[in-house]
């Protein structure tokens, strides 16, 4: 007859699955809300660098993700675009992932409309080209030959925003929102290291730890990791803003926190049962 602690240690994983599902569904359905405390770190570094850019700077924003990582990266795209456009920084956007183009376009158009910015003057979406790192290298020498037309098929030669950019070196900063390969590492290797342009990154929380070494070396100047990074940025952008637009990252954080706590609770329970069992076995010896 198995004791309680034994049963607890070998709990059917389907029970864990059910509890996790409930801990996400309930807070979302009930619309819980929790405040986000901000601590200095890669998110604030990223914010500070963008904040320090003068109006009129050129930023390349690359949407290197697809719908499967939207929950984490789309909120970042919104917060970053809002910050950049509010500061009158010009955005040239593109995508190393085919599905990134339309996701990026959704963000750019909606933020641009809400702030009254003008396509081709304040921002442009160049679209997607295959090639990853190779493509970046080619952009290093000439962007207009890589992207002769934008996403909608208009010639980039006629666009005021493209007057000042011929190659990657003409950008003041490159930001890649990246869900994997090609993404941030490709930008670091093929653009940052080669042409000495500051690279900022946004990534899924899972890949964030592997980018820390790049932060340490300065190859990456700031990093938004996962929904937490997005919520940090969203919070930072909203500081001092009247009637901030509704965010997408902050509400999800509540559900995430609850589920997160539930997992920690499971780990604690697992250890209690493990230690209790060990003690019992030790007693028999």
């Amino acid at each position: 007859m198995a004791t309680f602690t034994e049963k607890l240690g070998n709990i059917d994983r389907r029970i864990i699955f059910t509890v996790i599902a409930l801990s996400v569904v309930i807070p979302l359905a009930m619309r819980f809300n929790l405040p986000i405390p901000i601590t200095p770190g890669p998110s604030t570094d990223m914010f500070d660098v963008v904040e320090a850019l003068p109006a009129g700077s050129m930023v390349l924003l690359s949407f290197d993700y697809d719908p499967s990582t939207m929950p984490e990266l789309q909120p970042m795209a919104f917060a970053l675009t809002q910050h950049l456009m509010r500061k009158d920084i010009k955005i040239v956007s593109m995508a190393l992932w085919p599905m990134g183009v339309s996701l990026g376009n959704e963000v750019l158009t909606s933020v641009s409309d809400s702030l009254g910015r003008e396509e081709y003057v304040d921002w442009v979406n160049l679209g997607y080209k295959t090639g990853g790192g190779v493509l970046i290298v080619r952009m290093g020498s000439n962007i207009k030959s890589v992207f002769p037309e934008d996403y909608d098929g208009n010639s980039v030669d006629d666009m005021p925003i493209m007057d000042h950019v011929n190659k990657l070196g003409d950008f003041d900063m490159i930001i890649s929102l990246s869900a994997g390969d090609p993404g941030v590492p490709a930008w670091i290797m093929m653009a940052g290291d080669r042409y000495d342009i500051p690279i900022g990154g946004g990534c899924t929380a899972v890949s964030a730890p592997q980018f820390y070494p790049y932060l340490g070396t300065g190859q990456l100047i700031g990093l938004l990791g996962g929904l937490k990074g997005a919520a940090d940025y969203e919070t930072l952008v909203r500081i001092g803003m009247e009637n901030p637009p509704p965010g997408t990252a902050i509400p999800g954080m509540a559900a995430q926190s609850v589920a997160h706590l539930v997992i920690m609770l499971f780990i604690i329970l697992g250890n209690i049962s493990y230690l209790a069992e060990k003690k019992k076995k030790g007693g028999v010896k």
Binding site: S68, S141, N142, H164, K167, G180, D181, V206, Q210
Partner: protein, 392 residues
């Protein structure tokens, strides 16, 4: 101690650092908003580029805009771009190598051109060596030579030791267990293509695992995410079965392509796991987020799991869900360990020497930098080490 002998020349040879400067033409003009204009050949390119930099005066009225002009072959100045009136730089691209180009900046006040800047010219050239990468080239060459040297030593029959790697001692047991239980062995070679070095390493290990399954007579399933990997896997496994004298037992149909899609592949392999209930699962190669989807499902069907990847972000999940995990470089050591082939063992020793070299560089560099905060000459040593390891 032999190894130290190899590290020393490495340290000595790396002392060659080059610096190169281009042709400069600049000048001063008291009345002009543009203080100086410099033109030089863009460094480290295939030619066709000229870097232009300029500074502006704080005392002269700021113009509305400045226009960069280039002198055409027929002696006419034409605009190649309008620029904000601040200090700046610009690279003119797609020029012909070997031809001289001359530039000037024109300040515009209310649409009317004002004072002209000095003219500056340069000749674009292609470079035959990337100056920022010379240190790296030397290091890479020496490390390569060291690796070749030890491969040669191995081939000549020098006895080369390799330490125990836990996950690999279990390969035989895992395959044996599958045979006893009458269940298949599942081999997952990651989700990247054959151009990925981890996939290549995985194919070499697959050859070894296939020899074991041929020997024990258990069936081997290899679902792949890339068509090229499928065909290489087929050849590799066939060859192994042939070498073990069991060509009859080779089943080409067990090595299939599923889909190029990351999660489509995960769904398909999960399906295989729960239906075929393999007794042993190998996951070796490049993995991304699907790592834990596969490893947890494999665990739920009670398989012995041996995983290995050099993807730092996925190693923790394999450690949590698999019985044995090859961490990083261990994946590349696996083929040497399993085959005990002299050339592979030699290569592994070469890698060790390279790591030893980096460790020495780090230790000396850190000590020198620390002492260097108080004593200048030590700082020069650490600066030197930082320079040779810098990436241009």
């Amino acid at each position: 101690m032999r190894r130290i002998l190899f590290v020393l020349p490495l340290l000595v040879f790396t002392g060659v650092i080059f610096a190169q400067s281009g042709g400069i033409a600049s000048g001063d003009d008291g009345d002009c908003f543009i203080q100086s204009l410099t033109a030089e050949d863009a460094p480290n390119d295939a030619g066709g580029g000229i870097d232009l930099t300029w500074t502006v005066s704080a005392h002269v009225t700021e113009p509305d805009s400045i226009v960069l002009e280039r002198l055409d072959e027929d002696g006419v100045w034409s605009s190649i771009g309008t620029i904000l009136p601040v200090d700046g730089s610009r690279t003119d691209e797609e020029l012909s190598n070997g031809q001289e180009y001359t530039y000037r900046l024109v300040s515009f006040y209310g649409g009317i051109p004002g004072a002209l800047s000095v003219e500056a010219g340069a000749v674009p050239k292609k470079q035959w060596i990337h100056t920022g990468r010379i240190g790296m080239l030397i290091l890479l060459t020496i490390i390569s030579l060291v690796i070749f040297y030890f491969i040669e030593q191995g081939k000549r029959g020098k006895d080369l030791y390799i330490r125990r790697i836990a996950g690999l001692t279990a390969v035989e047991d895992a395959v044996g267990r599958a045979t006893e239980m009458g269940r298949p062995v599942l081999y997952i070679p990651g989700i990247m293509d054959m151009d990925d070095i981890q996939t290549i390493a995985s194919m070499v290990i697959l050859g070894r695992v296939a020899m074991k399954t041929a020997e024990y007579g258990s069936s081997l399933l290899v679902p792949t995410c890339r068509a090229v990997v499928m065909s290489v896997a087929q050849e590799t496994v066939k060859e192994s079965y042939l070498q073990m004298g069991r060509p009859d037992a080779y089943q080409k149909g067990n090595i299939n392509y599923i889909t190029d899609d990351q999660f489509g592949y995960a769904a398909g392999v999960d399906g295989i796991m729960i239906r075929e209930k393999p007794a042993a699962i190998f996951m070796l190669g490049t993995f991304y987020a699907e790592s834990l989807i596969l490893a947890e499902t494999g665990r739920s069907v009670g398989a012995i799991q041996i995983a290995g990847t050099a993807m730092p972000s996925q190693i923790p999940f394999f450690i949590a869900a698999c019985d044995y995990t090859l961490i990083g470089e261990e994946l590349f050591a696996a083929s040497a360990y399993l085959s005990k082939e002299p050339k592979l063992l030699g290569s592994l020793r070469g890698q060790d020497v390279a790591k030893l070299f980096f460790m020495i560089v780090i230790v000396i560099g850190v000590l020198a930098a620390t002492i260097g905060e108080a004593w200048g000459p030590a700082a020069r040593v650490s600066d030197f080490l930082k320079t040779i390891t810098s990436v241009g």
